[in-house]
């Protein structure tokens, strides 16, 4: 079984700092593998089983090698790194690059993404990629069972769960409840740097280099205006103070 899994090297939202004017300090910000992509890699490893190949695909800056190595440490076999600055790319452009890279790597049984990235969380790349590759697609998968040439996938929607049958090869986006991502051991982390990673340029992939039709005009810190009143003391005191405060807000009975 051959599995392609896409990962994003994303700025760590918890570590991101803003300046006095509320502008984010994006240059040099701490980055990591997008949170839910770990679930994508885990599911790819599970579907690969004992034999087969998991190939990691990543569009990102040179520093994205950290994220790629983490996926390799988890157990992926090799990686293809499309080296460019993705901040100027929209989802259409990113999915075009990924589709081109996946297509030139031969046939895959599964193409896996997580439902969305932890930085921008648009969730657009997975269905765009499936559409470009012409593969059957099930989004927001929380359980995948493969039997021969078919897969039964449970997908989680807002108010319902669907069981979808799809032929294999297919593409999937997974939600975090699908599995518990493994932690690589020290030995696996050391071995990861020996696994092959191929660097690609957007130009070599052709259509991906085109100009994006949507863009970010600006970003600023969201004002979170909260009172931040904190009560300390005995349980009885603080409980009474909290109830009193909520009563004064008109939420609880006076």
């Amino acid at each position: 079984v051959r599995v392609a899994v896409c990962v994003k090297h994303a700025i760590d939202e918890a570590e991101l700092k803003v300046d006095n004017e509320g502008k984010p300090l994006l240059v040099g910000a701490v980055s990591k593998m997008s949170t839910f992509d770990k679930n994508g890699v885990e599911e790819a490893l599970r579907l690969r089983g004992g034999s087969g190949e998991v190939v990691v695909f990543c569009v990102g800056i040179p520093d994205a090698k950290k994220t790629i190595r983490e996926a390799l440490a988890m157990g992926a076999d090799r990686a293809e790194h499309i080296v460019c600055d993705p901040t100027s790319l929209d989802s259409l452009a990113t999915s075009a690059l990924l589709a081109a890279a996946i297509e030139r790597s031969g046939k895959f049984d599964f193409v896996i993404c997580s439902e969305g990235s932890s930085d921008t969380y648009t969730g657009q790349v997975p269905p765009m990629l499936a559409e470009r590759l012409g593969l059957p697609y099930v989004g927001y998968a929380r359980k995948v069972e493969v039997s021969g040439p078919k897969a039964r996938v449970e997908r989680a929607l807002e108010n319902s769960v669907e069981v979808v049958e799809s032929p294999v090869p297919m593409a999937l986006s997974v939600v975090s409840e699908i599995n518990e991502p493994r932690y690589p051991t020290l030995i696996q982390i050391m071995q990861a740097s020996k696994k092959p990673t191929e660097d690609l340029t957007p130009e070599a992939l052709g259509p991906g280099g085109k100009v994006a039709g949507s863009w970010v005009l600006g970003m600023k810190a969201q004002a979170m205006e909260r009172k931040r009143v904190v009560f300390e003391g005995t349980a009885e005191e603080t409980a009474a103070k909290l109830v009193e405060a909520l009563s004064n807000e008109g939420i609880l009975p006076r």
Partner: protein, 311 residues
């Protein structure tokens, strides 16, 4: 120059919210908006004009088929903007449409406006830490953040039928289970008591449930309780990848307040928190906080509320 806007949603429950945003767009710019109905005309949907997309088989329920149907109609009718409700199915439909039509696609935007041949909007980024202003060149597609716009009233309107012919679907839904009937929809709850990792055992959730019941509210939770521990069904999960809520009171009990969780509660009117760790980020996101153990704070809190009610 008039701008043609289409409004669409799967599920149709939030379509009239998309209609309200579409209506706002065209009111400013001249032009009209068209509500897209699938399979049959729906009298509960808003819109002066409705376009009914009909295929050989049913379209609604398969994002793949829906996107193909919309693409076929759009190639004939040339709408400038296709607004789609940012539900899980809606995101897939919009993304596929973007590829099929070669149009840019904005994601989960609000505060939409037409400016100099482009569609503009705002969106949350970095788990709500930042607010981004985004734009796409017309013609374009966008998914619209739902749960924040008022609904546009349904209207009696003329419906045109567009025959999309046979639309293939590579996958097949073999079962559809509605989630937890009888559970409260958190999106419309006015009061939510939410549990996090501070709760030590599943049985102890009864304390949270008791308080929620007393206040006539609903029970929510942070991601670990639903996704990792499975103590509550996934529809109780509030946060970036779960439900976004905007109650009058959000009471976070034993929740540390990771960004992903706070992203789902930002729009609450009042946020209160109970947590043992004084430095927990939830206190930064709260109006009122109690530093204390939920096991010792909740019982006197319940007693206090009962007393005030004369119970």
């Amino acid at each position: 120059m008039s701008t043609r806007v289409w409004a669409f949603s799967d599920p149709p429950e939030v379509a009239n919210e998309v209609a309200a945003a579409a209506n706002g767009l065209v009111n400013g710019a001249g032009g009209g908006f068209t509500m897209i109905c699938l399979d049959k005309e729906s009298p509960t949907l808003a819109g002066q004009e409705k376009l009914v997309l009909k295929g050989k088989g049913p379209l609604l329920g398969s994002p793949e088929a829906e996107a193909e149907a919309l693409a076929r109609a759009a190639r004939q009718e040339h709408p400038d903007v296709i607004l789609v409700g940012a539900t899980r199915n809606g995101r897939e439909v919009a993304s596929r449409l973007a590829v099929k039509l070669g149009r840019p696609c904005l994601s989960e935007i609000f505060g939409v406006a037409l400016v100099e041949g482009s569609l503009r909007g705002k969106r949350n980024a970095f788990a709500g830490k930042l607010l981004a202003e985004v734009a796409a060149q017309l013609p374009c597609i966008a998914t619209l953040k739902v749960g924040i716009y008022p609904l546009l009233q349904p209207s009696d309107s003329k419906a045109r039928v567009f025959d999309v012919g046979e639309v293939p679907s590579l996958t097949r839904v073999i079962e559809r289970r509605e989630k937890g009937s009888g559970t409260v929809d958190l999106r419309s709850s006015k009061l939510i008591v939410s549990a996090g990792r501070g709760v030590k055992k599943k049985e102890d959730l009864s304390l949270i449930e008791e308080l929620a019941r007393l206040l006539g509210g609903a029970v929510g939770c942070s991601r670990p309780l639903s996704s990792d521990l499975g103590w509550l069904p996934e529809e109780h999960h509030i946060g970036l990848t779960g439900v976004t809520v905007h109650p009058d009171l959000y009471l976070a009990v034993g929740i540390s307040g990771q960004l992903q969780h706070v992203a789902g509660i930002k729009d609450s009117k009042v946020i209160a928190a109970i947590n043992t760790d004084k430095s927990a980020p939830i206190f930064q996101a709260s109006d009122y906080g109690v530093v204390g153990d939920l096991y010792s704070v909740l019982p006197p809190m319940i007693k206090e509320i009962r007393q005030r009610r004369g119970q």
